[in-house]
């Protein structure tokens, strides 16, 4: 007999978002909406027009004396290094510029227009140098050295740069004996892919306002996923204490990773040091947004995989050359994260992976939704389909045979925790009607279906922590404070749900403190990695339970009862024994009077909690093996049905199916919303997106020629399937979904295109031109 688990209200319920009302009325504040008064200065940045050049001379004198200009700074003024995993960049270039857009000087003025005009008065003399525009070339001995001092940079102990080269990280997997396994393979597929750079395209561009007071204390307002990381990085760069840096981060209008870590905010802070006491606002234009903050790295991936005649995967040999760009302070970890997940969600006994992060003279690669997994799966899942066909197996059956299961020893030697991946695969296949080909909608169209699996673990240091606070108010309402940011994914809402569920109060009685403020919000490592539901959630639950314990202990003492018989339900403390009850209001602030007017007990209830995983181990630098590489994996599957127009090559995604194992859907509707949004964003990257870089110069730096999906491109239907195989240390079993929702979409569409026209499209974007010329080359069309 199975016991059905019950969950406390409102866990698992589709409660309305806490932030919806203010967002639909225009009241929600974003960083550029904050009013600063007439003292506000505006900054603009002078940027290198060369992808690689020595800076011979900068003359800012004319800019400095331009009326309305209050400060002009260059790299001379800021010698410090900064970086999250590897400290390889200065705030402003010193001695050389390494990408088109690299900040060379900054101006603060009384209006944005004056600052902009002052830029033209700054004279910079460059000596262009040969550039590196391909990561395989960049990794070769023939390439010019972009960071000669790589060996001197501070670096975290799980990143392995190769000084004297352009390789800033080399991650290896050596599991079993891949070289020796090929002879046993009945079929082998070997392919290479050039996955282009893309950009996050948040609808809200980056914006930061910085103020440095006369004592040197820093205040930074900004659109940020990572206020605490920014506090830490700024403090390090400036040589001051994090306690003297305050970062205030209101709602973020889309992040997807580009507003994690520290990018353009450092420029605002640096400029602000020259105009003590005055706030300085720096906004990126949409054009600058495309290439001067973070982009998603390009990838040249080489896959070789083989299976036996029954279709069991025997070996994989992967080589990844990540086009990290000019600075790889963040990107080095993408190299690592992709390395330790390099088999994709499959059980493969023999694996050899070399994942290289390579410096190039391209825009700076940083975290983007999926953190290496979309780029990797784009090629890997096409190879899997090709291998299945080669061995004569259906793509779904092949994946069913090989997909990772509970208890498998995965690529790093870790044992796979309970996962519902097989269930995701089966349900996605069923929902798309796998095996059934529907007729095309017109004679000049071809229909096809494709499927792809994925997995991803939160990529973060082993000791990334969360903390939370729960304050009780005099009317019994609850105020939750977290450090996890609301980017639209719904983190504030689930924080409220989890506090309500763990404490025993109605959801409507919970408020979430915002905006985030490092002076008053509890610490959160960063809002990245799809880690908040799980990690921040655990901290919120711990804080709520802490508050609950204080309340129950107080009432138990007042009632002379055993605390084990008491509970908080629907905002009241109740005794299961005596059936007494008392509402939370008043007692949670003012306490409970002792009998006979003998005083008071209790006091204002403040619950606190934190969570930090303690079990992630290091990995052997030569083999990438270790007992526990990551905290957990979220797994899933997507299936799509497409139509290819034979006259134009246009690929129309008719419908999609997404099935993910989220452990426990705290708010099922918001989980579905992530699955839908991720699908469409993934589809957008599959069909439209790519930064067209020519000799380091971006050719499509505006919406005119960097296209993203519009309302007309969204499919007719996206079916979302929630699978729940509980995460042992997740709140009510929950784990993340935010990134995973876009990881398999590119290969699912690629595999569907193959089903439709019998040609594999390779690297995205699968533009009409790409598909038409592919068909033309193959003689399918005129």
């Amino acid at each position: 007999m199975t016991t059905k688990k019950t969950f406390p209200h409102p866990i698992g319920e589709n409660v309305p978002r806490v932030d919806a009302h203010e967002k639909v009325t225009g009241a929600a504040l974003f960083a550029d909406d904050i009013q600063f008064g007439p003292g506000l200065l505006f900054a603009r940045i002078k940027r290198s027009p060369h992808p690689h050049a020595l800076i011979k001379r900068i003359d800012v004198s004319k800019a400095r004396s331009f009326p309305g200009v209050k400060a002009v700074v260059t790299g001379e003024d800021f010698p410090g290094f900064t970086g999250l995993y590897l400290q390889d960049r200065h705030i402003f270039c010193r001695e050389r510029a390494r990408y088109v857009g690299d900040p060379v000087a900054g101006v603060a003025a009384v209006t944005e227009d004056i600052a902009e005009r002052a830029l033209e008065l700054i004279e910079v003399e460059y000596e262009p140098l040969p550039g590196v525009f391909d990561p395989e070339f960049g990794a070769s001995p023939a390439a010019p050295l972009l960071h000669p001092d790589l060996g001197k940079y501070k670096v975290m102990n799980f990143i392995f740069p190769a000084p004297g080269t352009n390789i800033s990280n080399h991650f290896k997997i050596r599991k079993g004996d891949a070289a020796g396994a090929w002879k046993d393979c009945a079929a082998i597929v070997e392919r290479a892919y050039h996955i282009p750079h893309i950009q996050h395209v948040p609808i809200e561009p980056h914006v930061a306002i910085a103020k440095v007071d006369t004592h040197g204390k820093v205040t930074l307002w900004g659109s940020s996923q990572s206020p605490f990381a920014q506090r830490s990085l700024i403090a390090t760069a400036m040589g001051i204490s994090p306690a003297d840096v305050q970062v205030i981060a209101p709602y973020v209008g889309g992040g997807f990773g580009c507003k994690a870590g520290l990018s353009m905010e450092a420029l605002a802070v640096a400029i602000a040091t020259q105009v003590r006491g005055r706030p300085v606002k720096l906004r990126l234009t949409r054009e600058e947004e495309f290439y001067t903050a973070f982009v998603r790295q390009g990838l040249v991936s080489h896959f070789k995989m083989g299976c036996d005649k029954a279709g069991n995967l025997l070996a994989m040999e992967n080589r990844f050359y990540w086009d990290g760009g000019a600075y790889t302070e963040y990107g080095v970890n993408i190299t690592r994260a992709s390395g330790y997940s390099s088999t994709g969600p499959y059980d493969v006994p023999n694996v050899s992976t070399d994942s290289f992060c390579v410096y190039t003279n391209h825009p700076v690669g940083g975290p983007m939704r999926g953190f290496g997994m979309p780029e990797m799966h784009a090629g890997l899942e096409q190879c899997i389909s090709e291998l299945a066909e080669k061995i004569g197996m259906d793509g779904m059956e092949f994946r069913k045979l090989n997909c990772v299961r509970t208890g498998d020893t995965i690529v790093t030697g870790m044992i796979m925790h309970p996962t519902g991946l097989s269930e995701c695969l089966a349900k996605a296949a069923e929902a798309i009607g796998w095996g059934r080909k529907d007729p095309p909608s017109a004679p000049n169209k071809r229909r096809g279906k494709g499927i792809a699996l994925m997995w991803k673990a939160p990529a973060m240091p082993p000791n990334a922590g969360s903390s939370a606070k729960v304050d009780l108010n005099e009317d019994g309402t609850v105020t939750v404070s977290v450090g996890g940011q609301e980017l639209g994914q719904g983190s504030f809402t689930i924080a409220a749900q989890m506090a309500a569920g763990a404490l025993g109060v109605p959801y409507k009685d919970v408020r979430v403190n915002g905006p985030l403020d490092t002076n008053t919000s509890p610490y959160e490592w960063q809002t990245v990695a799809s880690r908040l539901t799980w990690s921040m959630g655990n901290a919120v639950v711990a804080a709520a339970r802490d508050a609950r314990k204080q309340i129950i202990d107080m009432v138990a003492e007042a009632w002379n009862e055993n605390p084990d018989n008491l509970d908080i339900v629907d905002g009241s403390v109740i005794s299961y024994k005596s059936e007494e009850s008392i509402p939370l209001k008043n007692i949670v602030i003012y306490g409970i009077p002792k009998p006979n007017d003998q005083g008071w007990m209790g006091g204002p209830v403040v619950g606190r909690g934190n969570f930090m995983p303690g079990y992630v181990t290091g990995l052997d630098p030569e083999t990438g093996q270790g007992p526990r590489a990551v905290v957990h994996y979220t797994t899933g599957a997507q299936a799509v049905e497409v139509e290819v127009d034979m006259d134009t090559g246009r690929v129309d995604v008719i419908r999609g199916v997404a099935a993910f194992d989220v452990g426990k859907a705290i708010n099922p509707d918001m989980v579905r919303a992530q699955m839908e949004g991720g699908f469409v964003q993934g589809m957008s990257t599959a069909l439209f997106e790519g930064l067209q870089l020519k000799e380091g110069v971006l050719q499509n730096s505006s919406f005119v020629d960097y296209r993203i999906a519009t309302s007309s491109d969204a499919p007719q239907d996206i079916q979302t399937i929630i699978v729940e195989e509980a995460q042992d240390d997740g709140p009510w079993g929950a784990r993340g979904i935010g990134e995973h929702a876009l990881v398999p979409t590119v290969p699912a569409i690629a595999n569907a295109i193959y089903d439709a026209i019998g040609l594999r499209p390779g690297a995205p974007p699968f533009t009409p031109e790409k598909i038409y010329l592919l068909m033309q080359e193959a003689g399918l069309v005129e």
Binding site: P16, V24, D33, F256, R286, G488, G677, I708, S712
Partner: protein, 162 residues
Amino acid sequence: MTIHRITLSINGSSEQVDVSSNLTLLQMLREKLALTGTKNGCMAGECGACTVMLNGEPVNSCMVLAVECDGAEVLTVEGLAKDSVLDPIQESIIDQGGVQCGFCTPGILISARALLDRKPNPSEDDIREALVGNLCRCTGYLRIIEAVQEASERQLQTASGD
């Protein structure tokens, strides 16, 4: 550069503003009137985050000069709700889960409101076409489309006195 004194109605309220020639309607709303609900996403007429109604028709306010709006009527997201009662399109977008980061939302609401004004019973294709100039990166659009359909049903029901 010439400064122009203009008078116009914004969300039903009369305003007099001094604007330089090169100030866009978007900048005037955000910087001179602190109506920050309307957003700046691209300054190029591509993303739609700046959409407002000008004399009853949606425009990208980043592509309109403030000085051109002398004597005009402007409606922004702040003017959609009447006396704290949300417009049906605002209610529906919340109900359908069509709000995530919220940055595209003001522009979307104005475009949707304008569509329902001119076509109270739009088809799904009508909705997709009407919203094509409002980019959203978070939701994938389907819930927004459903929200417009639901709002249209709400309105038609109210109109027929149900």
